[in-house]
Symmetry: C2
Subunit: 407 residues, 2 copies
């Protein structure tokens, strides 16, 4: 029966990461691999009350089908929420999605014909790679510098893609505290990106799951705030309220959003009315911004613990560096060229510490000497101890390399 698979499905492979993640879930291992928000930050008392009240007293709406666009009170609350960042949307520019992974799927469905070029950074968010590949996009990787994409490289890559018959369609970016790198784009880079997109007639897809999780430094305006006509924004409640809700939003130019709604109708009819009502009431009756401020304080301490531990325990060798993110859940470690972090993972697991290898985040297969660390799940004590172990692992690996042991 597998001869009946569509071409896109035949080519699709399960994420290697899933298999590797299973290895990291053994007891006693301190894992920085996961990337999940800390469940103790989920406002469970309020959510439990709202859920019970919605089910008991508003069941005719909350337990019934709803519109594909989503509940108006939630969309109205999100319009207010976006306006804090200088984004000004009308009701018909904002729709509800089943978290931002669905936003990515809908963008791919709406814009990508097989072979169309999508430009992403090296590294980029794995879920985006999967969503675009599932619709047979040609993914083109652009180096990510400290302050955003290498825009000169982007211009050349667009021209090359066109020449090779891949129609350039969109540029996908996570400009704030990117997963996996933790990097935030400068204002100059954001403007430069829009100039290129405008000149080349491309759409920018701005994914902002972590934007509100800023612990230090000054916010930079969203790309969309600089040119709302050229940008589709993806938002999710996963990191600021609770991941298990599977709730997010997509916003952008009206004519594009309208088409996305048509595609969503065919995809799942609508997102759960109950979940939408819970989130809407949280936003209307409670203070999501205050909740996010608490989250920032919580995660800032963890990030600081990880940065201090890295400073203390990582070998002082050439070629070792890491990012110092001003928010989000992740930081990114680069090791000397000759290190293979996938091979090193075995040693790490022996030392009872785990990370995520870098290569799956690179569409060109590079990044073998990189790894991602997530600081949201472990306690500060675990972070200290886990990074101590990781330092030891790297030290051993480098020693092994210089004596040829690991080769």
């Amino acid at each position: 029966m597998s001869s009946l698979f569509a071409r896109r499905a035949s080519k699709a492979r399960r994420s290697v990461l899933r298999e590797l993640l299973k290895l990291t879930e053994q007891p006693e291992i301190i894992s920085f691999a996961g990337g999940l928000p800390d469940p103790d930050t989920f406002p469970r008392k309020i959510l439990a009350e709202l859920a019970a009240d919605e089910i008991l007293n508003n069941y005719k709406k909350s337990l019934q089908y709803t519109t594909t666009e989503g509940k108006r009170p939630l969309r109205a609350a999100l319009i207010d929420w976006f306006s804090q960042d200088g984004l000004h949307y009308e009701m018909d520019q904002v729709i509800i999605t089943s978290a931002s992974q669905q936003g990515l799927d809908l963008v791919a469905k709406t814009f990508i014909d097989p072979g169309d070029a999508v430009f992403v950074s090296l590294p980029t968010y794995l879920g985006a790679i999967q969503a675009f590949r599932a619709l047979e996009a040609q993914l083109v990787g652009i180096p990510l510098l400290e302050d955003g994409m290498d825009l000169d490289h982007l211009e050349g890559a667009i021209a090359r893609a066109r020449k090779e018959g891949h129609r350039p369609k969109l540029i996908y970016v996570v400009p704030d505290f990117q997963n996996p790198s933790g990097i935030t784009w400068s204002l100059e880079k954001r403007k430069g990106l829009l100039e290129i997109a405008s000149r080349e007639g491309l759409l920018v897809v701005e994914d902002m799951p972590y934007r509100k999780l800023r612990f230090s430094g000054e916010p930079v305006p969203p790309v969309a705030a600089l040119d709302e006509e050229r940008v589709i924004v993806l938002f999710t409640f996963s990191k600021v309220l609770a991941a298990g809700l599977r709730l997010g939003a997509l916003a952008g130019p009206k004519e594009l959003v309208e088409k996305v709604v048509t595609m969503k109708q065919a995809t799942d009819l609508c997102t759960s009315a109950l979940i939408q009502r819970i989130a809407a009431r949280f936003m209307l009756e409670h203070d999501l911004s205050a909740h996010v401020r608490k989250l920032c304080e919580h995660y800032r301490l963890k990030r600081d613990a990880m940065l201090q531990a890295l400073e203390r325990y990582m070998p002082k060798a050439e070629g070792i560096s890491w990012t110092r993110p001003e928010g989000g859940l992740f930081l990114w470690v680069r090791l000397p060229e000759q290190v293979d972090t996938e091979r090193m993972l075995k040693r790490a697991l022996e030392h009872k510490v785990a990370y995520v290898i870098g290569t799956p985040f690179f569409v060109d297969g590079s990044g073998k000497n990189t790894l991602r660390l997530c600081f949201s799940e472990a306690t500060r004590e675990e972070i200290e101890e886990g990074i101590r172990r990781l330092g030891k692992v790297v030290e051993e690996e480098l020693a092994g390399l210089s004596t040829g042991q690991s080769l």
Copy 2:
């Protein structure tokens, strides 16, 4: 920017039905148009308790990300549930979906390349038409007889599709109390379908949203129970628990289900853990079968009221007939050839009664003289009065036609 749309999106149109449904939502109109389950049947007290308990006491799991396949306790409960119908699945053959519309989308993504032929009945479920069209399937309509598809016609259509360069991939059926017709397939037709699918090397997709809502007559085995290796089953909790949960399942041969999981990962990562846990606990701690028996009693009375009212109020003219479904939420009315139910809808709204026009359910554009009536939402009194009004509408329409008024 709309020049960037993918071909599938350029071709996609919003459902006409949505626009027509808006017209039917005016006050004082008795509407048989909707097709929603009766919200008073949703077990709200139990669901509220379970939701609050899960959020408060199991938040580390229920508010967090979960696996793409879905929660094991829910899948185990569904394996038991399916076994009541002679369907025997292992854990890795059953995955959780965001209701059966997502099941349809995932089937389309997994199996349909542009131009591949999908065989559906005339009429068929609108959501399936949208899901398959969104992935650019070539939909081929096969007449639906009283006891299932016209299988001779199906064989010819498969041969023709092949000849025209459309690769036959799958046959989509709703064999129990189909939406929109209310028709149930006979055992012979189910066996005949499998013979053809087997001979032609095609997959059967069996959608069973209404199967458990049987009010009278004897259950016929699911198509999948006759040949599990050739059938993917779609199930939803929308009609038996609550539509607002957006929860369902997909089951079938292991190698196919594995691939569907890969496609789902790219589509939404996972379905809400909270919603899954609520449904799992309902199935494990309460009695879903007993709940469904109550639903059947509830809907049976409404169906009977509608059938009695049709008998009483519909004109006794040649060419007028309707189905007598043994379950589900819908029945189907056929009027004389010269009646156009879309044109007649204006008259119906003047008489304060509404239905759904037939044509959107026909992939070949036929069915102009048909309409769907939903008996789940209105009270029995409203059903009596609404059908009385509809009888009057049809009477006037026929009189108008014979004098040429409406032409």
